[in-house]
Amino acid sequence: MAVIGVGRFIQQRQDFEDAIARSYQVEMAARVRLTRGNDNRTARAAVAAQANRRQELRDQISSDTRDTALLVAAGLIAGLTGALLLFSGLIASMRRPLEELVDAAGRLAAGDRSARVEVGGLSETATLGAAFNEMAGQLELEASQRDQLDRLKDEFVLTASHELRSPLTSVQGFAELLMLERDSLTAKQVDTVEIILDNCRHLVRLLNDLLDLARSDAGRLAVTPKPTAVAPLIDDAVRTMRAQTEGASQALSERIEPGLPLVDVEAGRIRQILVNLITNAHEYSPEGASIEVMARVVGVDVEIAVTDDGPGIPESQLEHIFERFTRGDAGLTQRVGGTGLGLAISKSLVELHGGTIAVRSTPGVGSTFSFRLPAAGLSGAGPGAAIAEAS
């Protein structure tokens, strides 16, 4: 319509200019007749008539221009509206399938492996939907295969660590038996048996750690927390480690804030974490180093920290330090006999208790591993709190 309008406008303009030109020609002819002096009245009338004629033409063209402009505008508006209607129809027909896709992708990302979309609508969205469903199906298949592999791995670790215990019992038991008769052994034989025993203990630690990790992965690592005093736990762990730290002339001390609240924990597991942390401090620090176990209240938590003045940990290793099989640089000491699993297990155990674990270290100054445990009864909803109120 707008195009028609523009065409008409150009035609009208042409006609107008032709008519004006003719009008001037007629007037000029009349004025020629006037100067010749004949037929004066008719010639004057013709001149006046042509002036009027041109005025009319001008009025006409301006009114026509207005009409044509209106027509062009109407045409443009109609065209735009039509285009908008067409587009909104297109958009509407794509929008629902796209929204469904976004929704399904979100569910898939959140772990719902059965997320699928209904395939339909425009051919483009239908193709997209079919491709999404194929991808989701593949992911579901792979995830279920991975789950099965994970289960097999967990089963294997559980069985292996179980089955290895009997032969290990024999090796360790007979080596101990030899040591009972150490008076009749040569010094070299005693050293040999001690190496066997050291390696047995290492294997036991490795088996226990692997078992804990397999349980943790299988979601079967569980704790049964009870309100527990922190100080005796630390005393116990320090007593366990005393012989080893004294063997390396390391000072192992405690600094426990008085009046610490009880924590909701399984005592054996917290002891295990502490022994892990003190063992690390002992193994990675040189002879004569100082190791301190501290406990204090931080907000509603009890924080327990093991600090050493050993070589420290480079920043590049810090961020991976709680990952399994990550081990520090053993160059400084030959004592390091860890499994690379202790910190990963400690982290799992702390988190299982609703706590957090952290590390701070400055190379050349030392390291601090600290973990926080929520104080018992402070969660408010615990059964202990209810009983205390009732009695």
Binding site: R165, S166, T169, S170, Q172, F174, L177, L180, C200, L207
Partner: protein, 122 residues
């Protein structure tokens, strides 16, 4: 002399147990599985019962747990320790009707085991 009946399906473990316990002054009898334990005790004269049972939890034919269940049903109240290859088996895992005196984890801490045996047979 204090008598201990040890049951384990590994001959090596039985040899180890026998050696350690005999060194500590105990008289030791052995059985290869739970079946042998119940047969030994059923055949034995009354009053000939051992002073302590040291039973592996998992054995072919009859487990230590099943053997103990049978013995308890037959009125045998001899103290019993269950040896388990589970890293952290605790008294809480024992079926309460079995009156298990304690759990011994593998690998065996013999100093602790001998302390426990001395306490249970004193």
């Amino acid at each position: 002399m204090t008598r201990v009946l040890v049951a384990d399906d590994s001959e090596t473990i039985l040899l180890l147990m026998r050696t350690r316990l005999e060194l500590a002054g105990y008289e030791v009898e052995t059985a290869a599985d739970g079946q042998e334990v119940t047969e030994l005790l059923h055949e034995g004269e009354p009053g000939q019962l051992p002073d302590l049972l040291l039973l592996d939890a998992m054995m072919p034919r009859k487990s230590g747990i099943d053997a103990l269940r049978e013995l308890r049903a037959a009125g045998v109240d001899t103290p019993a320790l269950i040896v388990s290859a589970h890293q952290d088996a605790t008294d809480a895992d024992a079926p309460s009707d079995l009156e298990v005196s304690g759990f011994v984890n593998k690998p065996i801490d013999f100093d602790r085991l001998l302390d426990d045996i001395a306490e249970l047979t004193s």
